[in-house]
Symmetry: C2
Subunit: 236 residues, 2 copies
DNA sequence: CGAAATATACTACCATACAAAGACGCCCTC
DNA sequence: GAGGGCGTCTTTGTATGGTAGTATATTTCG
């Protein structure tokens, strides 16, 4: 039996983003499963039975089913009709494609951000970067990853293109698990890259911001071969 | 009562893409509803009752519910818990954001396509363009729009970035209805723009391909004000 | 002994029934 | 006559039973 545990309470205020205590049961189950998959508590290849998950979460099979459909839409799980549902393995090919698309979107966002940035989002980003630096310092890579997500979300919002974040969020699903593995290493350089991006934006240099973003998103390329070699069972 | 009709049969082989006769009932209902919404057979503001749709399609409420959840995920409908589900109005703001993100992705795809294109996809695109030109000539704008979709999908696939199409498909939902309205006008110039993009790709000129794509995707900007003025009730 | 046919157990999928919550109209009260 | 409280209706959300299809283990036949 697969054993995993996801704290619903005891988290910071950020839990409201990914694991809302409000919302339908289906949404809660989906958020919890998503986190469990991304953190590899549910490793690739795990069979997900509707009945088993329903029992574990204390709900019926129907909300669980809807949660799994939602996860299947972002390709985190694969539903085989009348056969079963399982956590998909990390695909290097899809990761490379996802990175390409994400780079296309985020460099454009960075370029636009340099032409005018929402003041409210700007100050929030400063707070986020400080919090992220602290998380990095104490090695809390899960918290770090959530702040990273919030940074990129705030960046899109600040550039007056919230829709960009929605597109990124779906794409990111293909990369998150591999990123989670690489974060075991040093996190502080990533914060510095974030700061470099914001510095370029602040001085209105769109090209520099885009280039800094490109550099930032290329980071995963360096770590990927090593991670893949260390965990061959997680990849397809 | 809202009356609409979507042909499940009588279509070309392309129906297999958006309205698969196979697949679960939920997927079929979702595809039919999506088409009805995009073609404005179900105009913005329409209330969508799970029970009513279920009866109309001869299935139970459950598959319909899953279909609506899928549509809500791409923001085509809005589900108000315990209150009702309705077709969202076209948002110019979101359309502009969607166009921005789409331009970011597709210009990058075009640029990459110029560095190497899948031969199989290349010949398929030629066939598509011919079919699209014919559809434009006889004024079949719905068929035209489907070929347009297939063109952009084949382009992403040919550039070895199928994932890009998935991202675009979600984003496109915000633009499709407005595009549907503008297609009442001339369609042939759009085919020529497609051909210009492919010509640039064929000669390996990435920058020209990207610029041609940017030009192509900017077309909607010219028509949008007129459409919005003519159909104010469709917009928010 | 091997291979094919069969029985069984499991799955997602669909249908139906029930529950909870907001919207609306009605009636009573001030 | 106007405003507030209450009951009813409609809506989505959830629970549960039943069905068809698939994989696996078992049995049976060559």
């Amino acid at each position: 039996m697969v054993v995993y545990f996801v704290t619903q309470r005891g988290g910071s205020s950020l839990d409201a983003i990914r694991v809302p205590s409000s919302g339908s049961a289906a949404q809660q189950v989906e958020a919890q499963l998503r986190r469990a998959i991304v953190t590899l508590a549910l490793p690739p290849g795990t069979r997900l039975s509707e009945a088993e998950i329903a029992e574990r979460h204390g709900v019926s099979r129907q909300p669980v089913r809807e949660a799994l459909i939602g996860l299947a839409r972002t390709r985190l799980v694969e539903i085989l009709p009348q056969r079963g549902t399982l956590v998909v393995r990390i695909s290097v090919k899809k990761m490379m494609e996802a990175r390409f698309v994400r780079e296309a979107i985020e460099t454009a966002v960075a370029r636009r951000a340099a032409t005018g940035f929402d003041p409210g989002a700007r100050v929030r980003i400063d707070d986020l970067l400080d919090l992220q630096a602290k998380a990095a310092a104490r090695g809390a890579h899960e918290t770090f990853q959530r702040y990273d997500e919030m940074f990129h979300m705030a960046l899109a919002e600040g550039a007056h293109c919230a829709l960009a974040w929605e597109a990124i969020a779906d794409i990111k699903a293909h990369m998150d698990r591999a990123c989670h593995l690489t974060l075991k290493g040093s996190m502080l350089p990533l914060v510095e890259q974030h700061r470099a991006i914001m510095a370029a934006i602040d001085r209105g240099d769109g090209e520099a911001a885009a280039e800094a973003m490109r550099e930032h998103l290329s980071e995963i390329l360096r770590a990927l071969p090593k991670v893949e070699a260390e965990h061959p069972d997680l990849f397809e």
